[in-house]
């Protein structure tokens, strides 16, 4: 079973030596690793910023960064987490690595473009970091106009960063769509594709169809600042609400860019660790497309208090409830898959369970905000902050780590220490709820978001939350340390440590550069274990 001994071809990690062989690689697996390293660096950077936010809020009154410093840290935390971590995380790392393997291909359709999009990503990241050196930005990650056109801070760099990162995201999506259409092995029709591939396919369409809108909108801010074209300037009868429309036309679907791939990973993990064929394969596959479609219909629920027409608010409120349906379809199908399954509570499965729980909390509290009347009450409170951390971090973020634990043996050919991974997960899960749940309660009690200071009656919520942030960070550090140790000292992993049935488990761990010498022949669905794997 030892991959290194069994396979004649060197694995992708050893295919070339030196930094240059990595920086010029067009191997989708190596590009996935490049993304993994870069994304983790930016993630840890943003975690530090998040810790600073929680430290500032540990007690009422200004602590150590002050109001303006707080605004800038908050903005940078948002920009980094959203544009540099969650949006690219799962597609760029695990999509790049596993999408071609899962459809039996040796690479994506445009390998050089794939590398180019990594360089776009790095370029965008450097622009974002550059804005720190120039003193930071205080607009919030949404760059709401007219403030973003007026502020004395340098908004050029972060806006250009977002624009460049948008192109990185578009090129990845473009690559995936063409790859799925053109490089799928002939023996794999659409409805034999793994659900992760379905989720990435749907995500890629959102990336193509929504990202350009925000790209041009951000450029309009720059034109407004440079030339005063007046398109969004109220003094020239421009309409700032129009900016919000265009911004959310992208940025709402963007939350599905964050969470759809995560749902795809849950759909991979749940059947593997329950030893059962997934329940309702077609419904899960179609619901991914449905989420992508309906997700483009609901952006206005971010703007209920912005002065839209009443009819528009009602329409968007109604449409917002619709998007809960395909998400519900998925959750019920996962639960039905677990029912009477032979469940193994390994770490990846724990993360999948955490996803289902946390995302459900996030989803249900989302319905509260989708309802017009309750949203007026909780708008711009820390309730919203709690909600989107539950959906994004509890969704996309948790499954990024879930996927890391699920595919780690395949990617690096080593296994990690299971008991440490579980302890890290426990800290992560407890810390997460401790950090974000009090914010729901504080928000309901009226705690506004984006303030460095608060009244003493909110003290208890903020104290618990700040302590939770330390537990969460301890969990993350323990988890990463465990994986880092496994990288060098872990036991060798076989081809198929979990007993998965998708194509990536048929190639050696780690895979050679050309994983398929001949196109594999797929004779069954991706989750049909029963027949030939009875022995495990």
């Amino acid at each position: 079973m030892d991959a290194a001994a069994g396979a004649a071809a060197p694995n992708y990690l050893r295919a070339g030596k030196g930094l240059a062989s990595w920086l010029t690689t067009t191997d989708h697996k190596r590009i996935g690793i490049l993304y993994l390293i870069a994304i983790l660096v930016f993630f840890l950077f943003a975690v530090c910023l998040g810790l600073m936010i929680r430290l500032e809020l540990f007690s009422p009154g200004e602590q150590f960064v002050g109001n303006q410093g707080y605004n800038r840290i908050l903005t940078l935390h948002g920009i980094t987490m959203i544009f540099l971590f969650i949006i690219p995380s799962v597609p760029a790392v695990f999509g790049n690595f596993f999408l071609p393997i899962q459809i039996g291909a040796n690479d994506v359709s445009f390998p050089r473009l794939n590398l180019a999009s990594w360089y776009f990503y790095i370029g965008g990241g450097l622009f974002a970091l550059g804005s720190v050196i120039l003193g930071g930005v205080d607009t919030g990650w949404t760059f709401y106009i007219p403030y973003s056109a007026d502020t004395a801070d340098n908004v050029y760099l972060p806006i250009l960063a977002a624009f460049i990162l948008g192109w990185s995201s578009i090129l990845t999506g473009l690559n995936f769509i063409v790859t799925v259409h053109r490089l799928r092995v002939p023996s794999m029709p659409w409805f034999r594709m793994p659900l992760f591939v379905w989720a990435l396919y749907a995500t890629s369409w959102i990336q193509i169809l929504a990202t350009p809108v925000v790209g041009i909108t951000l450029l309009l801010i720059l034109l407004e600042r440079f030339l005063g074209i007046g398109i969004f300037d109220p003094a020239k009868e421009g309409d700032p609400v129009l900016y919000q429309h265009l911004f959310w036309i992208y940025s709402h679907p963007a939350v599905y860019i964050m969470v759809l791939p995560a749902m795809g990973i849950v759909s991979e993990i749940v059947p593997v660790f329950c030893r059962k064929t997934i329940f309702g394969y077609k419904f899960i596959a179609i619901s991914s497309l449905a989420i992508a479609g309906i997700g483009s219909l609901v952006w206005g629920h971010h703007m209920f208090t912005s002065g839209m027409a009443d009819l528009e608010r009602i329409v968007f409120s109604l449409l917002t409830f619709l998007v809960a349906i395909p998400s519900g379809v998925k959750v019920f199908n996962w639960l039905a898959t677990m029912y009477k399954g032979s469940i193994r509570l390994a770490t990846p499965f724990l993360y999948a369970l955490a996803f289902i729980f946390l995302f459900s909390v996030g989803g249900f509290t989302g319905l509260l905000q989708g309802a017009l009347s309750t949203d007026i009450h909780i708008h711009d409170t820390s309730f919203i902050v709690a909600h989107f951390h539950y959906t994004m971090f509890g969704g996309g973020g948790v499954m990024f780590f879930g996927a890391l634990h699920y595919w780690f043996p395949k990617m690096f050919g080593r296994t990690y220490c299971e008991s440490v991974a579980r302890w890290a997960f426990a800290l992560f899960f407890v810390g997460f709820n401790c950090l974000y749940f009090p914010l729901f309660l504080a928000g309901l009690a009226g705690m506004p978001r984006r303030y460095a200071d608060y009244l003493p009656e909110y003290l208890v919520y903020h104290r618990i939350s700040s302590i939770g942030s330390w537990i969460l960070v301890a969990g993350i550090v323990l988890m990463l340390a465990n994986l880092l140790r496994a990288l060098f000292k872990g036991e060798r992993a076989g081809r198929d440590p979990w007993g998965g049935a998708t194509l990536e488990w048929t190639v050696p761990s780690p895979p050679p550069t050309h994983q398929f010498a001949a196109p594999p022949v797929v004779t069954r669905g991706p989750y049909e274990y029963a027949r030939e794997r009875a022995s495990g």
């Binding site: 040796n106 994506v108 473009l174 690559n175 490089l183 398109i231 196109p519």
Partner: protein, 216 residues
């Protein structure tokens, strides 16, 4: 669906063909179309902005439009349409294995692009001379809707002109690759994709022309 079937076999026939730069014109074309989708939406967002303000400032937009010269706009439209024709004919000539003719037609396309840009430059210069540009004192005295109209006019025609400008080296490069044999009747997808890009630039102008010049 059937489209994945045949060519995938072809690609996997040669080991790792995709990695070795296997030639799949359908994939390249599909990628190009998806890229064009992003261009459509880039401009599409601006057209939404235009629509919203036309709805709010109908009268002011008509006034702004009256400051633009219809003949100039119409001539530029005809030039771009003609350049699209020469582009399509260039691809047709290459497919009929007449590379010299294809290159001549590509040069004609570039000539049209140059003429379009020169006319556009004179048009903008004329506007600047009359004090019609973002932030100009004269324009700021006009009705508010007109400021927005010209803000959009310069943004959208400017972005469009930028796309024309980018198209020129792409087409010239295609011409060079025809001469070197890198583009041949069997390997024509680079030229076809350049053509798709060029037609899209034309297509956007087809909407820009009536919306800016013909609403007075």
């Amino acid at each position: 669906m059937a489209d994945g079937g045949t060519t995938s076999t072809d690609l996997h026939g040669a080991a790792g063909a995709a990695h070795a730069g296997g030639y799949d014109p359908m994939a390249a074309k599909m990628g190009m179309w998806l890229f064009l989708f992003t261009e459509v939406l880039l401009f599409g967002a601006l057209f939404i902005v235009y629509g919203v303000y036309l709805h709010g400032f109908t009268w002011q937009f008509q006034q702004g439009s009256a400051r633009l010269s219809i003949p100039v706009g119409a001539v530029n439209t005809a030039i771009l349409l003609t350049s699209s024709l020469t582009m399509a004919l260039a691809i047709a000539a290459l497919q009929r294995a007449r590379p010299a003719r294809a290159r001549r037609l590509l040069f004609a396309t570039v000539g049209c692009a140059g003429a379009f840009l020169v006319i556009k430059a004179f048009e903008w210069a004329g506007k600047f001379a009359h004090g019609v540009y973002p932030g100009a004192a004269f324009l700021l005295e006009q009705s508010k809707g007109e400021i927005v109209f010209f803000g959009l006019y310069f943004t959208m025609t400017g972005l469009h002109a930028l796309h024309v400008l980018v198209g020129v080296p792409v087409i010239l490069w295609a011409g060079r690759r025809i001469r070197s044999g890198a583009i041949s009747p069997e390997h024509s997808v680079f030229l076809e994709n350049a053509g798709l890009y060029w037609h899209l630039v034309d297509l956007i102008w087809i909407y820009l022309f009536p919306l800016f010049y013909l609403i007075s």
